[in-house]
């Protein structure tokens, strides 16, 4: 029964794409409502499937003879985050994409392309978490770049094409360095076990016997690619542009799900690295990389005038914080790193969804176009404010807990590092305040703007995320804590 789980995960997405390809231009309904309904069902089906596996199966489960795919608690947790964001995005897309189609920003002929790529991206993301093999994981990671690039160019503006190209070129070139890392890893591996294989579980098992320096080089090469995919400095330059050009629903996916995949790779890799002889050096490397990724956005945020770009820079900061936490690699910190991923994904989805409503209302992402926000779009305004508070880690939000504990871990490691990071976080918090005050404090405008009638499907996801965030900030379900502890345990910390 459990052997079919893999198939169950990929079938709906693949079926849809096949149907879209093989049905002629007109036979298959190009109607966005039908395709969106399919996407929503697809997302909830996978969410249900994930819960069934979570409660029903004895983990970890391996598939195929070479153990190329596996489900363990970490991959299941990541899939859970991804599916939740996908469910919300699929619902949000219903109203959002319909309106974009109605005003002609997306051409009708491209509806099929959008939903095809949307659903296939979902499948590929799930597969990248299920891949137990570094090389397979690399390939799925590349595919996510391609599919999300397609989703960015769905708005046919010249700037979108530039943003998409920048994303493809930076991510793919960095991923080629990762591939060199994989080759080195494979060569090292072959010396240890006959035939060699690149499975995560094998790597974890033979980690202590891997030669230090060579593994360190492989680690840094792999880190380049995974880091570029999760927008770490200095490979972050694609991220603000891609996030601000993409339709808001895609931005939410990019920030809430795709960045996590790179972090997931780094997390797995670090679990191997801590057991090698160069573990301590790589630890420092990750911590420094994390701090640099907090530093750059800290100095970029205050000057931003575009809401979505602003939110995107904040994503870079959070990825830096996650890598910092992974670098600290103590069990307690890792627990909170995993929790932070959930909190960050939900908060960023909330922010981008709200920014999407603002874009429809004011036809601009600039803060100075925002007028009478509370009167015109009360829910989106609260979404933006609560989302910002959540991202900053204000108490009552889940990120408060995770940020506090990651920083506490940093204090154990280095006090100077803590002071620097606190200072940077302070700058980031003031930039957020500066931005929000300017956005919501604009004078009442004489000319009455026409109220954008926000569809219900765009409102409910926002309400839902706010509720979930508040609940998670106050109460951590026992099952979640057990799951996270289990993951930390699985990784061998």
């Amino acid at each position: 029964m459990i052997d079919l789980t893999m198939l169950a995960y990929c079938i709906p997405g693949l079926l849809l794409v096949l149907a879209l390809i093989f049905s002629g231009r007109n036979k298959f309904p190009a109607n966005d409502a039908v395709l969106n309904t399919f996407s929503i069902i697809h997302a909830f089906y996978l969410l249900g499937l994930t819960f069934v596996v979570l409660f029903g199966a004895k983990l970890p489960v391996y598939f195929m003879e070479g153990r190329y795919f596996a489900i363990d608690r970490l991959s299941l947790y990541e899939i859970l985050i991804a599916t939740i964001v996908f469910c919300l995005s699929a619902i949000y897309a219903r109203g959002y994409i319909r309106d974009l189609l109605n005003i002609g920003e997306i051409e009708r002929t491209n509806t099929r392309l959008f939903y095809g790529a949307f659903n296939l991206l979902f499948t590929v993301i799930v597969l990248s978490f299920l891949a137990n093999n570094v090389a397979l994981y690399w390939i799925f990671l590349e595919l996510t770049t391609l599919l999300s690039a397609l989703l960015i160019i769905i708005l046919k503006a010249r700037e979108n094409i530039t943003a998409s190209l920048k994303y493809v070129f930076i991510a793919s070139s960095a991923m080629l360095f990762s591939f060199i890392g994989i080759i080195i890893l494979y060569a090292l591996n072959r010396d240890q076990i006959a035939d060699g294989n690149l499975n995560w579980d094998t790597l974890l098992a033979i980690a202590p016997s891997l030669p230090g320096t060579a593994f360190g080089i492989a680690f840094i090469l792999l880190f380049i690619g995974f880091g570029a995919k999760s927008g770490l400095v200095p490979f972050h330059t694609w991220l603000p542009i891609a996030h601000s050009r993409a339709p808001s629903v895609v931005s939410a996916l990019l920030s809430g799900v795709l960045l996590n995949i790179g972090i997931y790779g780094i997390l797995r890799l670090n679990a191997v690295a801590t057991q090698t002889s160069v573990g301590d050096n790589l630890k420092v490397f990750l911590i420094v990389a994390g701090i640099i990724s907090i530093l750059v956005p800290a100095f970029c945020l205050a000057a931003r005038t575009n809401s979505k770009k602003f939110i995107a820079f904040s994503s870079i900061e959070h990825m830096g914080l996650l890598v910092l936490g992974i670098g600290l690699s103590s069990p307690a910190v890792l627990f909170w790193v995993l929790f932070h991923m959930l909190g960050h994904s939900l908060s960023k989805t909330l922010l981008f969804f709200s920014a999407g409503i603002f874009h429809r209302q004011y036809e601009s992402n600039k803060y100075f176009q925002i007028k009478n926000a509370f009167k015109l779009q009360p829910l989106a305004s609260w979404g933006l404010i609560l989302g910002s508070l959540s991202v900053l880690g204000v108490p009552l939000f889940p990120i408060f807990l995770s940020k506090l504990n990651i920083l506490a871990g940093l204090a154990d490691f280095s006090l100077a590092g803590l002071v620097i990071v606190l200072l940077l976080l302070f700058i980031i918090a003031s930039s957020f305040g500066y931005y929000l005050v300017r956005a919501f404090n604009s004078k009442e405008d004489e000319t009455e703007l026409k109220v954008y009638n926000t569809p219900k499907s765009m409102k409910w996801p926002i309400v839902f995320i706010i509720v979930i965030l508040l609940v998670l900030g106050l109460y951590m379900p026992g099952g979640l804590a057990d799951l996270l502890n289990g993951i930390v345990n699985d990784l061998g910390f």
């Binding site: 595919l143 190209l165 070139s173 060579a214």
Partner: protein, 225 residues
């Protein structure tokens, strides 16, 4: 099995040819010749895989040679030529940041730096001198490809830069460790998809057709910082 000395000579000769093609790719302005040089470079890699196959007899290497020949020397250059006809641009004259001469100089320095790095830091990674040389040339080729990506203006030239990078990685993998063949196939598929995607995107950016630009700029409201 070939005589070791002859084998080494052949391999070294092929290395020189690869570096020569890389230098041409960095400096070439005509797009048609750029694609032809890329095809030639891939052909050299295929020949190298065949030579290695004759020497070591691993069937994997033969498959890689055939795959490289079919996809990289025939299909991709043909496809790029076809795209070029559609976008009606013949040459890529603009170099950003670097002139052709300084690019060559920098790539020479790159090779040297990579060599120093591998001999001093990663010495234990490479069993013998030949593999060390491959490591150096493979990585240097990848870095040179990266240089093409950021120093050229046209998207289609950047694509060739990416392809060169990939050739560097292929060279590296030929000697370091033969990956399982299925993974090689998947990588080539992935490469194809990237090429098709960036070629389609190149229509939007490189195209000389005015009406295409007008159509793109119609959606003015998304154009803001």
């Amino acid at each position: 099995m070939i005589d070791t000395i002859i084998f080494n000579d052949i391999i070294h000769g092929l290395f020189v040819l690869i570096l020569g093609t890389a230098a041409l790719i960095i400096t070439q302005r005509s797009l048609t010749s750029l694609f032809n040089i890329y095809a030639a470079q891939s052909l050299i890699l295929a020949v190298m895989a065949i030579v290695l196959f004759i020497e070591y007899g691993t069937l994997n290497l033969l498959f890689i040679a055939i795959l490289t020949l079919a996809v990289k020397t025939i299909f991709i250059p043909l496809f790029l030529h076809k795209v070029l006809k559609r976008i009606s641009v013949k040459r890529d004259l603009q170099f950003m940041f670097l002139s052709p001469a300084s690019s060559i100089l920098i790539s020479a320095i790159l090779i040297f730096v990579v060599y120093l790095f591998f001999t001093n830091i990663a010495g234990d990674l490479f069993a013998d001198r030949l593999i060390l040389l491959v490591g150096v040339i493979g990585i240097a080729l990848a870095l040179m490809g990266m240089m093409v990506i950021f120093s050229r203006k046209r998207v289609i030239t950047k694509t060739v830069g990416y392809l060169t990078m990939e050739n560097g990685v292929l060279l590296f993998s030929l000697f370091m460790a033969e990956m399982p063949f299925i993974i090689e196939i998947l990588i080539v598929l992935d490469l194809l998809m990237i090429i098709v995607l960036s070629a389609v995107l190149a229509f939007g950016i490189d195209s000389g057709m005015e009406e295409f630009h007008k159509k793109l700029n119609r959606l003015g409201i998304w154009i803001e910082d």
